[in-house]
Symmetry: C2
Amino acid sequence: MPPRRGQQLVQSLERGLAALEMALDGNVRPSHVAEALGIDRSTAYRLLYTLMAKGYLLQDERTREFTSNPAKFFQLYGKVATLLDWSDVAGDFLTRLRDQSGETANLGVRQANNVIYIAHKPGQAALSVNFALGTSRPLHCSALGKALLAAQPDAVTAEWVASAALTSYTAKTITEPSRLKRHLERVRVEGYAVDDEETFAGVRCIAAPIHDHRAQVIAALGISGPTTRITHEQLPHFAQNVMQVAAQLSAELGAPVAEL
Amino acid sequence: MPPRRGQQLVQSLERGLAALEMALDGNVRPSHVAEALGIDRSTAYRLLYTLMAKGYLLQDERTREFTSNPAKFFQLYGKVATLLDWSDVAGDFLTRLRDQSGETANLGVRQANNVIYIAHKPGQAALSVNFALGTSRPLHCSALGKALLAAQPDAVTAEWVASAALTSYTAKTITEPSRLKRHLERVRVEGYAVDDEETFAGVRCIAAPIHDHRAQVIAALGISGPTTRITHEQLPHFAQNVMQVAAQLSAELGAPVAEL
DNA sequence: CCCTCGTGTTGCGTAATTCGCACATGCAGC
DNA sequence: GCTGCATGTGCGAATTACGCAACACGAGGG
């Protein structure tokens, strides 16, 4: 057993990163950061100033507001090449899924308690689901998220379900731990997950897991569309389609062929 | 006059960011970071651990190495929407320039003493210049960089030229401050910058500045190709092409129409 | 098999670093 | 001008982070 992990975090770094993320959500001023983090204005200022000196933030000469430095983040992101590569690999499959289903196809990975959308092909219908890349959504109410959750070992899922904050977004969001647990078991059995207006009213999504060469689940692939087109009657048909393309993408990544 | 800026940086945050950037350049271990930053292993470990706790890094269960968390960076980058938008706006112009010139077209912005490539269209010839988005290159020896430098007020340029480290990459790299200063003056007069094998032997680049609606230079657009195709005879012709498309992009951004 | 070396990880005391207070400065609005 | 409000900056106090030292563990060699 590996030694149990420490829990003492470096406070200044922790606060600095929090300030950085605040700046990414919109321009910030020392007073805002100070209030949000419960620290003194001067401390907040020094954190922001340090972030600026290291190139992460810029300061508007006139308004004195601190703003994120896009170029810096682009540079950092450029070094994390894997996801760009991902888009390249998955692009064809997303297009195929989009064209076959007629709906927006998207691909996401897990990041803490969220799914991050890392690639997509927006649907071409007048009414289509659309959102920016990099968007994050809760695991428990998105199809991609549930597909990822269901792929975990039972014990892990049980613990997560018990401790997670199951925020409600619509009347249909599953907020009861026990119900979510049963729901996820069914997802695993069926091989696909459905978000039935649990995040946005009028939007239904279907997703299936993607496996890598070690049969590990590393991402999820799915479609999102209006309930008027993804009807309950059509749902199984769409689900077959999603699972099929997900299996193809998994195969492309070298996953051992399980079923099909 | 605004109060003169402080110079005291928050040490822990500074070191933490340094550790983070090391991790982005490849997996790191506490001992590596400690040695590189001249700090104790335990300190390096705590920084890395904090970065992991906040989602920036992951730790391999087996090798204990810390590695960057791509999903986190994608999420952060997704919040900095401007550059993605940029690619959308500039995409058509890059394609146009690529098709007209037959060479790789690229767009970059300044980040400290570097140019960051934020969008490009690789040339389709068998022998074409190609590199990943997010790459950075020194200002003084790249065409994009020189186009950006030349757009500054004289005093700023003079100071920069005097204090910058003009590293040599090829025999043709300009490393003398006075010569670079004269060179940049000529760039401004002519309206375009040339990198004549100053970064890579056999590669010639041409670039021109992009102005926004306030006539501020915010980026540079250019082409890169082998010296066998971008010959000295053809250079003026290519330059006209680059300047023309740069002017079109500037106009698209609402820049006041100056010449042409 | 033991011994050594190197590394990840943690406890602890010290001292350096950071924090918050207080103030100077600048700016907007009455 | 005066008042309110925010940014930016000394400075002393003490919290915080740092380095030392030690433990656990694995690799490699004798």
